[in-house]
Symmetry: C2
Subunit: 362 residues, 2 copies
DNA sequence: GTTAGCACTCAAATCAAAAGAGTGCTAACA
DNA sequence: TGTTAGCACTCTTTTGATTTGAGTGCTAAC
């Protein structure tokens, strides 16, 4: 048995209907809903086939059908392959997105210096707009270049190390030192670091270089090593992957996500954030020019256990050349994929533009 | 009718029992539970009186009694007045707190530079330990003194302003400037700011001073004003009151907080955080030497709407002289007040010590 | 290949009855 | 006069039986 055109149409009708209502859909509904002009009996036969093929299933004997993960997958892949895209996009843009776009502009016009703020606002807007939960990761710094280091003696035995990365991400590290430094020494250390480390990525600051610099610093060798460690830690520290979430409570709008202690588990994951990194760091390397950087996890496909009843859609934005961040949506499997994909494309597009502009003028 | 000793004992018994079980408690239970040696019938009479006095009530005719807000209030006030404190504290210390204390030490031994980290860890530990939700506010900066300002030219037209407050709270502001500055000017500007503003609070940096400094700066007057504004904004900005929460999902352990959409409302408040400021900024001024800085809101007493079924206990810690932060617990009205009060006292005590030590050695 | 018709299945809603916890009140008791 | 035993009463919760209704699969006819 294979999936002919009619079966495909019926499957799509089932899914669309289920997305809207959240109720299992029966043959009678489809018989009216589509323009196929088939009786419910015929639809029933076809649906039995679709069930056998693994695209839909019945929660119990006397209920309508619900899409399986495979069913959703087919549906989403179809959508991603872009056959219906132009059409739907046009419709949406006109109807809904108008105000979305206005909001977005507003957020972007905000002081652009503060990426964190921008991203948080973005997440909030996305969550409000889609009625799902959203998450954003700060641009991954592990490929980011060091732009500037500034050492300042703050107290006896305390050195404030201000580290600026390409794209003006600022980090502060406090270093405890055993010896006190006079202004002169501090100045030359500052020079040393900016000369040697400027423009380097985390990977490029390797052991050799550190040893080399320590040598060069003579009696301050130990200190230099200490400082390099701090810089490295600041840039690439494991908790460098900062993630913000928004709209966690939207999950209460979908009983399948909030009943039976699911809410607790889900919100726990959102609160702890560690698991989210799996969704937002994964496969950054795989992104080529040809793909959109969009990834869809449906149900069991997600690597996060508490989200096996969810679908997760993530998209990649480019902060600057080679430095990416991700933005994602978490919702029920019966989410409005079309809307979500549109919204994400929109947002990442805008982010890309904003950061590019920012960079050009800076 | 008044509240004699026996009634008080019975009320306490009712509350204690209810705290443990979460079920309405009946006369028979009390008759056995207490050492009063009274029959259930007698207890019933007394309970009827207590109900009339407004300290307990029946959810329905054939159920046991539950404490009212007033009942809880009496109970908590009694506890706060410290009559039974010594006894219970000793018991607790021995039984439970031992590992708590060990945890705390561990957290405190962490790099102390990072208040934010310390506070977050503290909140997490508190939540885990009490099984309630916790929140912490960063020390209020609006009374904090400026310690150090550092201006750095970052790009064309961009000035990075690193601001360190007493207690080593570091903030970064990015300032867009119209004119470019050479190294020499930057140096003297740095000197100017550190000479003039060092050690001042937000209040002490007033208009006169700003005008004065602008005058003194000659052709850079406009720029100086711009920078002072940035400094002031950085210190006192409305979003300066940072709040961290932890253990939000603990509310699912208490049906009265999670049923009927309560969970959604509560977690929403925790996520948005704005409302929490009402709990964590309120009445900082009222704290004298004599009080412990502990505040208990029971049910309707809380200023936050979504928490009318909760009790909130907050405590104040001293970050440094005159600079306070707060730490709080949100739980059901039937929370274990004794445990919570102990835990909070413990934590604030430790925070005070840590920050004092930190300051002394710095 | 399509459809009408019908028997069948099973979840969900409805309803009635029973169980159980706890009370208030009365009458007896010390 | 305060305390207690006893009992009728109330109201929630549990349980079980019945009904309802949506939807199916199958068969036979078109």
């Amino acid at each position: 048995m294979e999936l002919d055109e009619r079966k495909k149409k019926i499957l799509q009708a089932v899914i669309k209907n289920y997305l809207e209502t959240g109720e299992p859909v029966g043959s009678r509904t489809i018989s009216k809903y589509t323009d196929l002009n088939l009786s419910s009996a015929t639809i029933r036969n076809e649906m039995a086939d679709l069930e056998e093929l693994g695209y839909i299933f019945q929660p119990h004997t006397s209920a309508g059908r619900i899409p399986t993960d495979a069913g959703y997958r087919l549906y989403v892949d179809d959508m991603l392959s872009g056959k219906q895209e132009e059409l739907s996009q046009k419709n949406r843009k006109l109807e809904e997105q108008e105000e979305t776009l206005k909001n977005m502009q507003e957020i972007m016009d905000k002081r652009v210096d503060r990426i964190e703020e921008v991203l948080k606002d973005m997440a909030k807007m996305l969550a409000n707009n889609t009625n799902y939960t959203s998450m954003v990761s700060m641009p991954q710094t592990n490929k980011n270049r060091l732009k500037f280091v500034q050492l300042t003696q703050l107290d006896e035995g305390k050195l404030l190390c201000t580290i600026v990365l390409e794209g003006n991400i600022v980090k502060n590290e406090m270093i405890k030192i055993s010896q006190n430094l006079d202004q002169q020494v501090l100045l030359s250390l500052n020079l040393l670091f900016n000369n040697k480390l400027n423009g380097l990525t985390l990977q490029e600051i390797n052991f050799d270089m550190a040893a080399n610099m320590a040598d060069q610093a003579g009696e301050y060798g130990a200190l230099v090593t200490e400082i390099i460690n701090a810089v490295v830690a600041a840039i690439g520290s494991a908790d460098g992957i900062e993630i913000f979430t928004s709209g966690a409570t939207n999950i209460f709008k979908y009983p399948e996500l909030s009943d039976n202690g699911n809410a607790s588990r889900l919100i726990s994951t959102l609160e702890e954030k560690e698991k989210l990194t799996e969704l937002l760091t994964d496969s950054l390397e795989e992104i080529g020019e040809n793909t959109t950087g969009i990834q869809v996890y449906i149900g069991e496909e997600t690597p996060v256990n508490s989200m096996k009843d969810c679908s997760v859609v993530t998209a990649t934005y480019e902060f600057e050349k080679g430095v990416y961040g991700k933005i994602g949506i978490i919702g029920p499997k019966r989410m409005d994929y079309e809307k979500v994909l549109d919204a994400l494309k929109n947002v990442t597009g805008n982010l890309d533009k904003t950061f590019k502009k920012e960079k050009d003028e800076g």
